[in-house]
């Protein structure tokens, strides 16, 4: 009888242990994401073509424009207006209309540019006039002081004149062009920073000669043949 009881209690204990372990692992399983996140092997994105030729109808005007030497922007002032290169520039001037999203009031000056007497400067041209909720991304600068200062990491902005693959070959495009597919809006006209103002805006098909560079997104190595590792 004792012997039988011993065997029964052994089985009961094994059964309880099984339940405990099963329960524990079930709970652990629940903590894991139930949709596995797949590793994406896709390395890069090919820049979109939308709006590539948008301002090309003004190309000849651009090439005929005289240079206004007294009101030139430089890359330094261009970058100063951005948290980091590629960030949406902040609005460096006072804005009167506070209740709208921007839209027409911004586009009046920033769709086609032109000299603004008030600010003694040429208005930069937006590469994406179809996105009219300007203040979604562009914020005003209403104070010079900080709430709290901090150690904001900074990334090095691309420089002009160092993006050639070969001596004198057309420079590569050293920055991403998402939302900035239309090259002429920043690289042509009186508001273009002097270092990056294109000397040949009438060429229009920029990517005929200037290759996008994916290095900012992923470091693509050199070409490797499948199954032929060096």
């Amino acid at each position: 009888m004792k012997k039988r009881l011993g065997i029964i209690s052994l089985f009961v204990m094994l059964f309880l242990a099984f339940i405990a372990i099963w329960n524990y692992s079930y709970q652990l399983g629940l903590e894991e994401a139930y949709i596995p996140i797949e590793d994406q092997n896709h390395l890069y994105a090919i820049p979109s073509e939308s709006g590539v030729f948008r301002r090309s109808e003004h190309a000849l005007d651009y090439s005929n424009m005289p240079v206004d030497e007294n009101h030139q922007r430089s890359l330094t002032t261009y970058y100063e207006n951005r948290a980091y290169h590629g960030a949406p520039p902040s609005i460096p001037h006072p804005v009167n209309e506070h209740q709208n999203m921007g839209g027409q009031s911004c586009l009046k000056c920033h769709e086609n540019g032109g000299f603004a007497e008030k600010f003694n400067a040429y208005a930069p041209v937006t590469p994406h006039p179809e996105l009219v909720n300007c203040k979604q991304c562009h914020v005003e600068q209403n104070t010079q002081s900080l709430f709290k200062s901090g150690h904001y990491a900074s990334i090095v902005a691309p420089k002009a004149g160092v993006n050639h693959a070969l001596l004198g070959s057309p420079p590569m495009i050293p920055h991403q062009i998402q939302l900035r597919e239309n090259c002429l809006s920043c690289h042509a006209g009186p508001s273009a920073p002097i270092e990056i103002r294109v000397s040949h805006p009438e060429r229009v098909n920029c990517r005929q000669c200037h290759v996008p560079n994916t290095q900012e997104m992923t470091a693509v190595g050199t070409f490797k043949r499948a199954g032929n590792e060096e």
Partner: protein, 775 residues
Amino acid sequence: MQNSLTSRRKFLKKMAAAAAMTAAASMFPGIIFASEQDANVPKGGNLDWKKGPCRFCGVGCGILVGIDKGKAVAVKGDPNSSVNKGLLCVKGYHQIMCTQAKDRLTHALVKKNGRYVQTPIDEALDLVANKMKETMEKHGKDSVAMYTSGQSTIPEGYVASKLMKGAIGTNNLDCNARLCMASAVAGFLTTFGADEPMGCYEDIDHADYFITWGNNMAEMHPVLFSRMLEQKNRRGAKIIDFATRTTRSSTASNTSILFEPQTDLAVANAICYEIIKNGWVNKSFIENHVNFSKGITNMGYGLEDNYKFKDKPTKINFEAYKKFLEDYTPEQVAKYSKVSVKDIKYLAAIYGDPNKKVVSYWCMGMNQHTRGTWMNNLVYNIHLLTGKISQPGNGPFSLTGQPSACGTAREVGTFTHKLPKGVVMNEKHRRLAAKIWNVPYERIPSKPTYHATEMFRAVDRGDIKFIWTQVTNPLVSLPKTSRYRPGMEKDSCFVVVSDVFPTPTSDVADVILPASWHIEKSGLYGNSERRTQHWDQMVEGPGETTPDAWMTIEVAKRMGYGDLFPYSKENHVEEIYKEYTQFHEGAKHGMAPLEVLKKESGAIWPYVNGKSTQWRFNAKYDPACKNGKDFHFYGKPDGKAVIWQRPYEPAPEIPDAEYPFWLNTGRVIEHWHTGSMTRRIPVLHKAVPEAYIEFHPDDAKKLGIRNGEHIKVSSRRGSCVLPASINERGLPTRGQVFVPFFDENMLINDVTLDAFCPISKEPDYKKCAVKVEKA
């Protein structure tokens, strides 16, 4: 918007006054940099600039290569070249970088017990010659074949033809231009009796309208497109993009019209219908210069081995042609072409307006077509009906994809049916070749043998037991490589591959011969506008690399044909060119002498009395016109061009329930053909590191496909896995996917169909049925 050159000059002067001229400015003629812009640009020392044509596409831009201490270090556009006037494209500017690739083939490799063993070049050439001879002795001369290229130089093509047809006596010679230009050739021959465009690039400066037929010129012929854009901006010329996919060209055009694959045949006929209906026919032109003909229909698609077809032309009259077109009213055609009636009438009105000058451009969209010859004929019909041909700014213009598809493949004739002048079927042509080659005329067989696709079928069947490929990569570029790769791997065929880099084709070779790259040898190319261009060797190639022409000559000598190849190693290019030009003497095809080509940035043939002929068949410009009228289509015996009655016929494989998508294949601006060169140019590889499959966003949404997700695309022949691309480089129409073919690691040609145009034997890479699923 109107603008004169002088105001631009004024502007440049102003800029120049403000900015110092520096070394960088001299790199880009006509472009002046502000001092801030080139502050960081390294200054070029005293580079030695050497002239030549670009290595890549058929536009044939002039390049200047900067040489520093025996090394090529820079490339710029040749300002003296009327083709590109100093401008190039991403590929052109960086081309020399590929020669520095680590895996460059520098020595001959011979396969021994499954491994490649580095072998002295002389020994490897001995082996090739012995093997070729032995195969011929055992299995007959038609058991050996050569497969060359539209990238072969003129001398390379010439010695290959002379070896195969003149020395050995077999027509087993074809080339990769069969895959890209054969329909253009067949179109020219059937309509005009003379190959190659009648106009030239200068047409761009005169035309009011550019109509591109299935042709993404902004990426594929970028320099010509830039010239069109310039005219669009300066003169208000209009670009109309007629295509099956929205591309960079569509975005830049004034109008983009999309059509359902294969229905271009019907739309072209509908345009002719409208032209006749509205009385826009140029009656006197038709009466004086045009005949009407029809040929055999329901030709099939060449899908079966040993498929044969011969067209039988029958003369018809204008009334019969008019009657035939009644099936192609814009209303009827709009139903299946998905082109609106309004758009068809718009296109017809442009062609029909006698005051508007129109150039039609096309390349692979029309040529890689199971009815490619017909399609070429149909566009000629439009230009002939309206008399808009052979005049500055008016004419059909067939573009080429390879740098010497015209110069070598078509003019030297590295096709099975061709001779440097004429065709093997013609006794007079055989006699001329035999005379210049100094061989018995009976040796040149009168029957063509294998065209490209059939040649690799014959390898697969075991009929061809020795094949030598030069300057081409068929196991990436052939259609249905899923059949031809295993075919070439078979032991029944000895494979010799000459190339600059290892490729999937050299992977199956028994002997790999190391070829010199472009500027490491001298040569001549001929571009789309009949321009012949010469270059001298600029740098030394590495290791034992040897020019292809010289390797062919060395093998010919070893096979005992030395007396037919009496050329010197140092001067063979010039000697061969001088011999070759005898074939084309006369006003119809005279070639510019070498002295001229060395001095100038190319010359257009017919080169007569020291002058290029820019517009053929037009008595005002072409001294070969002899009929006393304003035009003379002297390619045809009666001096008249032919308007062909060619119907719409469906594609061989159409999307169905199981395979619901059209598959279209093509290129991107960064990569050229199978990518063996451009992928070894780091700048270009980094811009587009791998192939992808483009979806229409609606299709992607329906299938739940996200950008970058891996997609398996399969047909009845094979499959391939690629990342999805939605709204990136191009936008296919709904129900269509697009894949660029440059990526040897994602072989889309395993999926394509090897159907071809029965007349030209050119495969259709643009249409087959596939299914897609997440991989």
